[in-house]
């Protein structure tokens, strides 16, 4: 279970969740989920080795979002100005902190975090007390030039603080009650911004540290997965995605030469396929040609001829290299998050957020554009390797996922399931697209990209298991038949060894199945609207589910969804073991 943390041993939440699922009070689930979410890190604790890191991530996370949204509203400069207003806060220094500071901070805090989370489980209010205690703005005038880290550790040294929480989010709000009369709201907001920025910086630093290991040449990919599950900062996303999906090498010494080779491979492939000697597969070419202008028609980026040509080359090359599947509508959607993400790599920092509006050749050279194209091609290839069954003849992968979704909803929310049966709503009528396009049609592009941070963390192609393990295990006879068969004893030992092997393979693929996790995400997505849906008839239901009000979802809603999916998956993993 390296990748995903489990919930089972850490908190009562899963049990409550389960009880809830039988007694159905969505608000309860909501609140549990929310608390679970805010203590996201709980999930990480049981993952073992480094609980502190995990905690850290998730909490940092919410701040990171705030920072992001601030970023999009205001500008980097305004943060800068804001800082000067809150000189009392020791936290402000973090905004000017850099990577190495944050690393220090992290290590100096680590042993404290255990306590924090122990408290969290038993008594929230205790933690809140803790929050309040250190908050009084110790006027650390002398610490001005130090990173926040130092502030935190010094406080604990001197016993001024009982809490390691100085670096955590939400402080300003709690703080407000104490000192609201002392500070203007403006100052408080600034402070919040600074803290958000602080944690963003911290998070960026953590990714920096993982991507540039100080000892050894290997990027710790499992650590990277853990961290990325909760979202990847935009600046790191291109390199992180390349690693997570198994395209870039984790060996940093070889990384760039291998990348170069793959990019050259792509160029060669394109040259070959579009050379005179090569007969064009016209039906495929035609199909892609008509779909390209219809890809993300509302995003300006995809209207530039330059971009359309790139995508067309990628899709065509992929299609003819994968004749069993060929090009299937929906794959044109799947390439775009990659393309857009890899473009950001070459945009100036201030323009990265506008990647969906800028014509790429404003900033990118021809060669860079081809690199973006090559990276998108290889990552698309890696992604589709995991879900080939979705696109081959008859689309068995999708049919299976839709069926699994139905069974899952039957277990999790039988009221909704029964209602659907009564109204003759069939899952395939709305969920086919969810599977075929990985819910991309349901969310805005930036939310899809955030979702893929998790999806790519959730699945792993660096093990060889993904495709190989699944096919044979499904055709295995059940245990009992083996035991009952004549000559059992001998065969039993043989087969049990065989089973062992299969089992291991299955165990590895357990953490590598994108399709499986996606089904849980779809279940969480559907159940989110359970209350509304139960009041709807067939037409209303189908109409609603074809245009769910989720295009405006924000990152926190996406993350809640992913967390819920994660919970369902941990709760129902036994029930769904036969999926593999």
């Amino acid at each position: 279970m390296g990748v995903r943390p489990t919930t089972t041993s850490t908190s009562p939440t899963p049990r409550e969740m389960y009880q809830k699922s039988n007694s159905s009070s969505p608000s309860l689930v909501g609140s549990i989920m929310r608390s679970l979410k805010s203590s996201h890190s709980i999930r990480r604790l049981s993952a073992g080795e480094d609980a502190e890191n995990g905690n850290h991530d998730s909490l940092q996370k919410s701040n990171y979002h705030r920072a992001r949204s601030l970023n999009s509203n205001g500008s980097a400069q305004s943060h800068g100005r804001g800082v000067s207003h809150i000189h009392l806060s020791p936290l402000r220094k973090s905004s000017s902190g850099n990577g190495s500071f944050h690393k220090d901070k992290h290590s100096s805090h680590s042993q404290k975090r255990d306590k924090y989370f122990a408290d969290l489980d038993e008594d929230w209010s205790a933690v809140i007390e803790d929050y309040n205690m250190p908050i009084p703005m110790i006027s650390n005038g002398g610490v001005e030039l130090r990173p926040p880290v130092t502030v935190g550790s010094r406080r604990s040294e001197t016993g001024e603080s009982r809490s390691p929480s100085a670096g955590y989010p939400n402080l300003p709000q709690l703080n407000k009650s104490r000192s609201s009369d002392l500070k203007s709201q403006y100052e408080q907001e600034n402070e919040r911004e600074v803290q958000a920025l602080n944690s963003l910086m911290h998070r960026v630093a953590k990714f920096d540290a993982i991507l540039n290991p100080t000892h050894g040449n290997q990027v710790n990919v499992s650590e990277l997965r853990r961290l990325s599950w909760n979202g990847v900062p935009m600046v790191h996303r291109p390199s992180v995605w390349r690693l997570l999906i198994g395209y870039a090498s984790a060996n940093i010494k070889r990384q760039s030469s291998l990348l170069q080779r793959k990019r050259q491979d792509y160029r060669d492939g394109v040259e070959l396929v579009f050379s005179k000697d090569h007969t064009r597969d016209l039906p495929t070419w035609h199909q892609i040609e008509i779909d390209i202008p219809r890809t993300n028609p509302f995003i300006p980026l995809y209207q530039f001829p330059l971009v359309q040509e790139s995508l067309q080359r990628i899709l065509y090359l992929w299609a003819i290299r994968h004749p069993a599947s060929g090009y299937v509508q929906g794959i044109n959607d799947l390439v775009t998050p990659f393309y857009q993400t890899f473009l950001t790599e070459y945009l100036p920092p201030a323009q990265k957020e506008d990647v969906d509006k800028i014509c790429p050749d404003t900033y990118l050279s021809r060669e860079q554009l081809l690199d973006v194209e090559a990276d998108s091609f290889w990552c698309l290839t890696k992604l589709l390797e995991q879900i080939t069954d979705n696109y081959i003849h008859g689309q068995p992968g999708i049919l299976k996922q839709v069926k699994n979704l139905g069974q899952l909803v039957k277990r999790i929310d039988s009221d909704l399931y029964d209602h659907f049966s009564q109204e003759n709503v069939e899952f395939i009528q709305f969920a086919f697209r969810w599977m075929n396009c990985l819910l991309m049609r349901e969310f805005s592009m930036s939310m899809v990209i955030r979702m893929w941070d998790t999806y790519l963390s959730e699945t792993s192609l660096d093990s060889t298991s993904s495709a190989a393990a699944e096919a044979p295990s499904s055709s295995l006879p059940p245990d009992s038949s083996l035991q009952n068969s004549p000559g059992g004893a001998f065969r039993e030992t043989v087969t049990s060894a065989k089973f062992q092997g299969k089992h291991n393979a299955a165990a590895t693929s357990r953490q590598t199945s994108l399709s499986e996790f996606h089904v849980f995400v779809c279940a969480a997505f559907l159940i989110k609207f359970s209350e509304q849906l139960i009041g709807m008839d067939f037409q209303e239901t189908i109409t609603f589910l074809q245009n769910p009000p989720t295009k405006t979802w924000t990152e926190s809603e996406i993350e809640l969804l992913l967390s819920e999916a994660y919970i369902w998956q941990s709760l129902y993993k036994d029930a769904t073991s036969h999926w593999r």
């Binding site: 779909d291 219809r294 028609p297 509508q329 003759n424 009528q429 109409t543």
Partner: protein
């Protein structure tokens, strides 16, 4: 006197990008979008039309055109009372595909399904583009196979409503004829306003019992 409401379950079939979704969008919302995302699986829409003293409610399944999704189509046309088989008047290939769909519907769909053959994108020809599917060729097919036939432009809106009205007329005539024949009148078509046809109900069977012509 209550106005009766007839629900018609209608399915659209045809090659990718011939304008199936655009025809529906024009009919349902009187709108047009130049580049619509390809339909995946199928999309469901409804529209009511008043015809004389009663209302027809179209329940429309707009299917995905790409060949790979074709295995889903039977699910949508199996219990349909009407089908639009759409092609693009500037794409001969799409007309070949249309022939295939007509054949498949005659073999697999409900026996008395009403099929309309629809040549779309007429606006391209009106604006100087080259017609690649002759009107006569399509008319011949329609006559041989007993289809309604229309040429439309979802972009300009020309003739789109007529397709649906044509289907509505043909279907609402049927129960009346049946009634004259001896009382199988309702045949599951005339239903109350707030109910709808059960998509899984063996519609074909019940009507076959009364109105089979063979």
């Amino acid at each position: 006197m209550n106005t009766s409401v007839t629900s018609i379950k209608l399915v659209l079939l045809g090659e990718a990008a011939v304008g199936k979704s655009s025809i529906v969008l024009r009919f349902v919302s009187n709108d047009f979008a130049e580049n619509k995302e390809p339909t995946i699986g199928a999309a469901f829409l409804t529209q009511r039309v008043n015809m004389g003293d009663h209302t027809i409610k179209f329940e429309i399944w707009d299917t995905a055109g790409q060949e790979r999704f074709a295995s889903l189509a039977p699910m949508y046309y199996r219990n349909a009372q009407a089908a639009l088989v759409v092609y693009d008047v500037t794409k001969p290939q799409s007309f070949i595909k249309a022939r295939h769909w007509v054949k498949e519907l005659h073999e697999q769909a409900s026996r008395d399904i009403i099929i309309a053959l629809v040549g779309n994108k007429l606006d391209i020809i009106e604006n100087g583009g080259e017609r690649k599917v002759a009107r006569e060729e399509a008319e011949n097919l329609a006559q041989q196979e007993g289809l309604l036939f229309f040429e439309t432009s979802a972009k300009s809106g020309s003739n789109v409503n007529e397709v649906f009205l044509g289907i509505g007329q043909k279907i609402s005539l049927k129960p009346a004829q049946n009634a004259q024949d001896g009382g199988q009148g309702s045949s599951g078509l005339r239903i109350n306003d707030d109910s709808r046809i059960d998509l899984r109900a063996p519609y074909g069977q019940s009507s076959a019992a009364g109105s089979c012509n063979c």
